[in-house]
């Protein structure tokens, strides 16, 4: 393992090389913002399991050396290739980032919902300071802020009705390996408006690469955002998404994540209630096999009264896959009438698969409804016996129950196109053979 200081120095060198080309480079205020972010990263370094927050997730190759900025890719990818990744969403409005850089030729803005405005990070100087905010950041968010070359700024105008989902596609095309992209998005839903955004992450198997995505979300008074994430990085990919959400009074935020790619994946979502009567649902499902490590970390901060947060996460882990679910709910003293529930269920299909579930409730208010629950186990033996007694061979009965466990989550997805897209991705995972652990010594 390289010295943390060497890694920080290497990123500082990258920054020095890139800084003149970064969005906002000519604005001294923004430069200072980026320098500050870089300094905060340098001070903290790449997170290690010594940090409480990262106890269960070791970032592998990120601790061995700095990842170089990924190179722009200009050819070799057509619209058809992007369509094929998400057939159910093809034809709808979309933005495509290849190696962290917007590829205008692959985007489609024809069906953009009325009231939705989309800009790239480089084309929105007025919004950069807000988008690059580094308050309460962790080291990887800060590194993203220092090095972000591109991203999407999505603004939905006041009272705009919900249109088709906007699909933001992230595609990695690593060269030699050891390359990283740091996209920074900002989504703002103005009061009374509604929108749906789907983020997808894809990459090839083979070379190791790192997607370090950050997304800042503000949902205004009585507005609503439905936010979907599909993480399907390549087999050697490292993935980290951090989503930070702030909700105004009466706002609603619904998040659903499907995490099934990468060697190491961590999806982090933090929600802060800034106004009363707001609500969020955070749902997710992680599907791991081989030696995959998939981490879902959520934090919900109830700082004001009468807000609701409901979280349901499910995992299916086979072979030697490792899952992590960390869920923090903090209810401040003044946040009375909070309604906060969290549930995590994991299916372990092999004796060597494991999950660490860490629910954390910090409740300072006294008039609240809060709960959490976590279960881990094998398929229900009674259901398995029932199906086999009806003639289904054991492997097929198991596959049917695993698929049912997943289906129960994805069938609740609202927008038809997104449900079709996520269902297809989850089914493809289920059909991808249920691994060695499925047949290993289980009578």
């Amino acid at each position: 393992m390289a010295q943390a200081t060497d890694i920080s120095r290497a990123y500082a060198d990258q920054f020095a090389r890139l800084r003149a080309t970064l969005p906002g480079a000519k604005d001294p205020k923004l430069s200072a913002l980026r320098e500050g972010a870089l300094a905060r990263f340098a001070k903290a370094g790449v997170p290690t399991p010594r940090l409480e927050d990262w106890k269960y997730t070791r970032l592998g190759a990120l601790l061995d050396g700095a990842f170089e900025p990924s190179s722009p890719v200009v050819n070799g990818i057509g619209e058809d290739a992007i369509d094929a990744l998400s057939p159910a969403l093809a034809g709808g409005p979309r933005l495509v980032f290849v190696n962290g850089l917007l590829r205008a030729d692959l985007c489609c803005l024809d069906g953009l919902p009325a009231g939705m405005r989309v800009e790239s990070l480089g084309a929105a100087p007025a919004d950069l300071a807000e988008a690059l905010a580094d308050r309460d950041a962790d080291a990887l968010w800060s590194l993203n802020g220092a090095l972000a070359r591109d991203g999407a700024i999505v603004t939905v105008a006041k009272d705009a009705g919900e249109g088709d989902p906007l699909h933001i596609v992230h595609l990695a095309r690593p060269g030699a390996g050891g390359e990283a992209s740091h996209t920074r998005h900002m989504i703002r839903i103005e009061p009374g408006a509604a929108a749906t955004v789907v983020e997808s992450f894809f990459g090839p198997d083979g070379a190791a690469y790192w997607s370090n995505a950050a997304c800042l979300i503000r949902v205004g008074r009585d507005a609503r955002l439905r936010h979907f994430r599909r993480q399907q990085e390549g087999a050697a990919g490292l993935h980290r998404t951090a989503v930070r959400v702030e909700l105004d009074a009466g706002a609603a935020y619904e998040s659903f994540g499907l995490f099934l790619g990468g060697a190491i994946g961590r999806d982090e979502i933090s929600v802060r209630f800034a106004g009363e009567g707001a609500s969020c649902t955070l749902d997710g499902i992680y599907l791991g096999r081989g030696t995959q490590h998939l981490d879902c970390t959520t934090r919900v901060f109830h700082a004001v009264p009468r807000c609701t947060s409901h979280e349901t996460y499910r995992g299916v882990l086979d072979d030697k896959a490792h899952g992590v679910f960390q869920g923090l709910i903090r209810v401040e003293k003044q946040a009375q009438k909070t309604d906060a529930h969290m549930l995590s269920k994991t299916l372990l299909l092999s004796d060597r698969a494991a999950v660490d579930a860490k629910p954390e409730l910090e409740i300072l208010a006294d008039d609240v409804q809060c709960s959490h629950g976590a279960t881990t186990g094998d398929l229900d033996p009674a259901s398995l016996f029932f199906l086999r007694s009806r003639g289904l061979p054991e492997a097929r009965a198991r596959a049917m129950l695993v698929e049912a466990f997943i289906t129960q989550m994805v069938e609740g997805i609202g927008p038809d196109a997104v449900r079709a897209d996520f269902t297809a991705a989850a089914s493809a995972w289920s059909a991808g053979g249920l691994g060695g652990g499925m047949t290993g010594g289980r009578a």
């Binding site: 229900d380 033996p381 009674a382 259901s383 016996f385 029932f386 199906l387 086999r388 007694s389 009806r390 003639g391 289904l392 061979p393 054991e394 097929r396 009965a397 049917m400 129950l401 698929e403 049912a404 466990f405 997943i406 289906t407 129960q408 069938e411 009578a443």
Partner: protein, 251 residues
């Protein structure tokens, strides 16, 4: 068709059945009656091959084959069907998908051709209407949100589709009101056939007024303690299990 010889069965290290003998021919319906805890459900599960129900002595011969050497799915293909006392709910699996998968696996196992979607739906609709079931129920996940009667009818529907050689009905009457009981019993009776045998397991005589057995076996303390014709069930109804010197925990 079915020969159970000196069957000893252990569950969780404890012997529950202590040497059962029972033989059942094609076309016959036998009842196994017994008080709670007598081993009735153990007998049902061991016939269907549930994990954890271990045959320590004796044998079960079904159509000349050693049933105990077969997996639950192999038994289903061979024609064994267990109607569960407590049908499980399977959220996330649609009833239709389940029925079609089960039927085609069983057909495959019997060397018959699989049915395509159209053929399956036609057959299924026929059987559903015979059982006076609401077809909409089958679009729901298996047994989820079903009433007790609907669950039992769903079991009989599966039996009717899978056309078993041997049907074991484990307390099919439990939890049913008289109307539901009549519908379920009519369904079972309509499936009586010279090629099919049935083992009707029950605590009470009530069900046997509708499904009239050829023979009655009384199971108590893991042993068959009496056998007779259908009149034995009536006598039992009158006198209670005490007539055999056994106590019934449920009474």
């Amino acid at each position: 068709m079915l020969e159970i010889k000196n069957l000893h069965v252990t569950v969780g290290g404890k012997e529950i059945l202590h040497g059962i003998n029972l033989s059942l021919d094609e076309g016959q319906v036998h009842a196994v009656m017994g008080p709670n805890g007598s081993g009735k459900s153990t007998l049902a599960y061991v016939l269907a091959g549930r994990d954890g129900y271990e045959v320590t002595r004796g044998e079960i011969v079904f159509d000349g084959k050693d049933l105990n050497a077969m997996t639950p799915e192999e038994r289903a293909h061979a024609g064994v069907f267990l109607a569960f006392q407590y049908p499980v709910e399977i959220p996330g699996v649609s009833g239709l998908n389940f029925l079609k998968s089960a039927l085609n696996e069983v057909r495959k196992g019997r060397g018959e051709s699989e049915l395509d979607a159209v053929e399956f739906l036609k057959l299924m609709r026929e059987r559903v209407s015979e059982l006076k079931m609401d077809e909409a129920l089958l679009k729901r996940p298996v047994n989820v949100g079903f009433s007790g009667g609907e669950k039992k009818r769903n079991e009989i529907l599966q039996m009717s589709l899978l056309e078993p050689r041997l049907a074991v009905l484990d307390e099919t009457d439990s939890g049913l009101d008289i109307d539901a009981l009549r519908i379920v019993a009519e369904g079972v009776n309509s499936l009586r056939s010279p090629k099919r045998a049935m083992l009707v397991i029950t605590h009470y005589q009530r069900l046997l007024s509708y499904i009239v057995p050829d023979k009655v076996h009384i199971l108590a303390g893991g042993k068959i303690i009496a056998e007779g014709g259908k009149e034995l069930a009536l006598e039992l109804e009158e006198k209670g299990y005490a007539m055999f010197g056994v106590t019934d925990e449920a009474a």
